[in-house]
Amino acid sequence: MQAAETARTPLFDGPEWTFELMEKARDAIEQIALEDLGLDVYPNQIEIISAEQMLDAYSCVGLPLMYQHWSFGKHFARDETLYRTGRQGLAYEIVINSNPCISYNMEENTMAMQTLVMAHAAFGHNHFFKNNYLFQQWTDAAGIHDYLAFAKNYIAACEQRYGLSAVEEVLDAAHALQSQGVFRYGRPPKPTSEELVAMQKVREGYESSQSVLDIWTDSTLGRDKLEQPEDASFSARRKQMNLPQENLLYFLEKHSPKLEPWQCEILRIVRMLAQYLYPQKQTKVMNEGCATFVHYYIINKLYEQGQITEGAFMEMLHSHTNVVMQPEYDDPRYSGINPYALGFAMMQDIRRICQNPTDEDREWFPDFAGNPDWRGVLRDAWANYRDESFIQQFLSPNLIRKFKLFTLTNDADLPNLVVSQIHNRAGYKAIRRDLAKQYDLAYLEPDIQVTDADLRGDRELKLTHTVRDGIHLDEEDQEEVLKHLRRLWGYGVRLDAVETASEH
């Protein structure tokens, strides 16, 4: 197969791109992506946008349609200033987890960059979105555009009807709780049939008249049942309100004694988007690693086949090298571990372990060391892991040595930081565990749950922060968030910290 393809004429020559050339390049990329790598992708919709539009897309968390809010304006203002003063470049691409998969290419890119970006986004990211279990389980790629359009229009209608300030107040509060607005472990309780009907009515009412915001009333939601006599005991409340509840936005939406139906719907919108974006937060290393591995493989293949010129190939490699650079901890450019670098290195390493395993690899990865189907091993990894579990399973001693990783322990009880592990035989397992933990959102984000709210008593909302390893919440911010929470709840809110036995 390779031999027959070696003597092709290049797809393009020179920096200018045209739609014809992009079409040709895309076809060539697709052939390698599907037939060689065996990728499985959503249909692609590739859009060419200008720098300003890229800035727009940036500020709205990368989504093509978004409701309006001042914080997006703030991000736009800052990104624009940074960009105009040359202190920050723009991403070459943005890609959206949707079906069809939309990716944005900038008009300023050269043809070589457009090719690289298509391989990266339209095939690498696209495959990852379509196949990774988190995205499959938690996001609705086909429905997201409709939902975003609904959200945008709904919030605009609320602004019309209730005023900018009233809507802003709810959005500010909802945004403050966004990280606590996702279900981490289990699915939300299934909507009851009444809820489904009510939701349906809200949508329909909204679409037909755009004014029936009040339709989601207590009676359609069956909320009045709460008022029925019941055993007032704590355990009954816990059962009825699904306590403890980690999803604060969900809890407020369902149980706040104060919120109007339209305010609940806004909380719901913010919560739905937080949940939609949650898998992306959990898979930064894997997602970028997958896209980078795919583009690197494809451009090399294109070059081998004579489909791109040496000049174009050098340009792509230059860009690739910049992207996967990992400064060391004492380098002024160091700002944490680069997900592109780590993800790409791990995936290249998996391929190496399949093709040229050492004894060490065989010992550490008996399942796939020497497996001739490295493509299959990678596809399986892309589909079934998230950053934390991926690192825990696939980070090899070889890479730990290559990155010269070490663990620094910061114990407030000790006067100094301590180097607790280095890249030697004794340290591999611990470093791998520590690094994996560094990507575990459940560990990184504070664990705050609603533990009680007696709607028939003092109505105080009780939250519990489970403190791990003696790390408390930032107090200043905590106070601010609690103010927002009180606004949404309407009554007192108490946040208690509970220390768990530390897992040293």
Partner: protein, 445 residues
């Protein structure tokens, strides 16, 4: 299935709504900064705000989006870092101050840790915030002064038009491009050839090769002439005309008289305060009128019209006779600014000291001559920093202040205030221009 979509032509400014919400949200902070920036600015002959807008830095505090996140202090944490060179297990490192490199807020969303937030306000936004809620006094009267005429505005280039609208630069650029592309022979090449031919023709007896050569040259010349004829120097294709569209022009013009006391008692501090006031007034009027002119008059015991530079920076001392400045203003209005064509504004700054009974004369000049033709007149008295008493008690004051108080009693569009420090300027300026109760008109006008 796949497709490409060209989105570049989509409407831009998708985030305009977000930007407006952001400005609305940050208004208080931005106002504060705009106010500060206006205090530090010097008056310029054009506008006080750069065309590209004004860079504003506001504290991120005001725009904070709080989240629950882990404190960067205390507890036990492990960080995996790349690039170990010679650490061995058990090595200790001093804890960096402020947790640098430890990334204490790793779990948080973007945007933390920044203390300041910089962005650029457009000029329009800047002025809008600066003068938010202010309006010109006597807008009604102003409208009667305005005349509307039909003017024209440039509206790009077309390929057809009248000769007087020919855009020479663009036409010649097209012509040059076409001549180069079609390889039109230059005048010089034709002339060279003609000279050569003339030279040959001048010879009495030509050898046969010379004959042949002459013949060839003639042929070549014919070719050149033909080509120059075919490829014209200017072709109708090259022509570009400016086009104009009619537009209503509102002929509202305003002149601002800046009258400043520069007598011995006015020191740098006093002049600086006066200058800030004039700057604000100028910026504000510039927003409302297409055309604003500034007239600078300075006075000691005699008044003179000066340029801006002299107005603010020249040193001259002498006694004080305030009325000379008012006389000067009256004189200039009569000479150059007929009140039926101009909106006239007066701004006067002084430390309030005046000679003898001149203050009564000032009152007369204002009431009889200046206020009837002015839209608005503001008097700012710059008092000593220690003169707390004067600031709080409008009834107390020197001769000039007392006389002006009488003017104020009779004229609604006359305002007076005292200031003693830069911070006072903007607030009193706002006070001058806050919307007044409607229907309050000067009886004498």
């Amino acid at each position: 299935m796949h497709h490409f979509i060209d989105r570049r032509a989509n409407p831009k400014g998708k985030s305009l709504g977000n930007r407006q919400r952001f400005l609305r949200r940050a208004r208080e902070n931005i106002k504060e900064r705009v106010d500060q920036s206006v205090r530090g600015k010097s008056i310029q002959s054009g506008s006080g705000v750069p065309d590209g807008g004004e860079k504003v830095t506001i504290p991120a505090r005001g725009l904070k989006e709080p989240r629950f996140f882990h404190s960067s202090k205390g507890g036990l944490r492990r960080h995996v870092l790349p690039g170990n060179k010679d650490f061995v297990v058990g090595d200790t490192i001093k804890r960096p101050q402020g947790g640098a490199g430890q990334g204490g807020r790793k779990a948080s969303e973007e945007g933390d840790g920044e203390d300041e937030f910089s962005f650029t306000l457009t000029q329009e936004e800047y002025l809008e915030i600066l003068f938010e809620g202010l309006e010109l006094p006597d807008l009604v009267e102003k409208a009667t002064v305005e005349t509307e005429t039909i003017g024209t505005r440039r509206a790009g280039l077309t390929t057809a038009g009248t000769p007087n609208n020919l855009n020479l630069v663009r036409t010649m650029r097209n012509s040059l491009g076409r001549r180069i592309a079609l390889q039109r022979p230059t005048t010089k090449s034709q002339r060279d050839l003609e000279e050569q031919i003339a030279e040959l023709e001048a010879l009495d007896d030509r050898t046969p090769p010379q004959e042949d050569f002459l013949e060839a040259l003639r042929k070549k010349l014919d070719g050149i002439i033909r080509k120059r004829k075919v490829v014209g120097y200017i072709d109708p294709l090259d022509l570009r005309y400016d086009t104009f569209v009619p537009e209503k022009i509102r002929n509202s013009r305003a002149v601002v008289f800046c009258l400043m006391d520069v007598s011995g008692s006015m020191q740098e501090r006093e002049k600086d305060l006066a200058k800030r006031f004039f700057l604000l007034l100028h910026l504000f009027l510039e927003r409302c009128y297409e055309h604003t002119e500034l007239v600078f008059v300075r006075h000691t015991h005699h008044a003179q019209e000066v340029d801006e530079e002299t107005f603010f920076y020249a040193r001259e001392t002498g006694g004080t006779i305030v009325s000379t400045a008012l006389e000067k203003m009256k004189e200039i209005i009569e000479e150059r600014y007929p009140p039926d064509e101009w909106n006239i504004y007066g701004a006067q700054a002084s430390d309030g000291e005046n000679f003898g009974n001149d203050s009564a004369r000032c009152k007369k000049l204002l009431l009889n001559d200046l206020l009837p033709v002015s839209q608005f007149y503001a008097y700012v008295e710059i008092v000593d920093e220690a003169a707390e008493m004067l600031l709080n008690n409008p009834e107390a004051g020197e001769d000039l202040w007392q006389n002006y108080r009488e003017v104020k009693a009779q004229a609604q569009h006359f305002e007076m205030q005292r200031v003693s420090q830069p911070g006072h300027i903007y607030p009193i300026f706002r006070e001058f221009f806050l919307p007044k109760v409607k229907g309050a008109q000067y009886a004498g006008s």
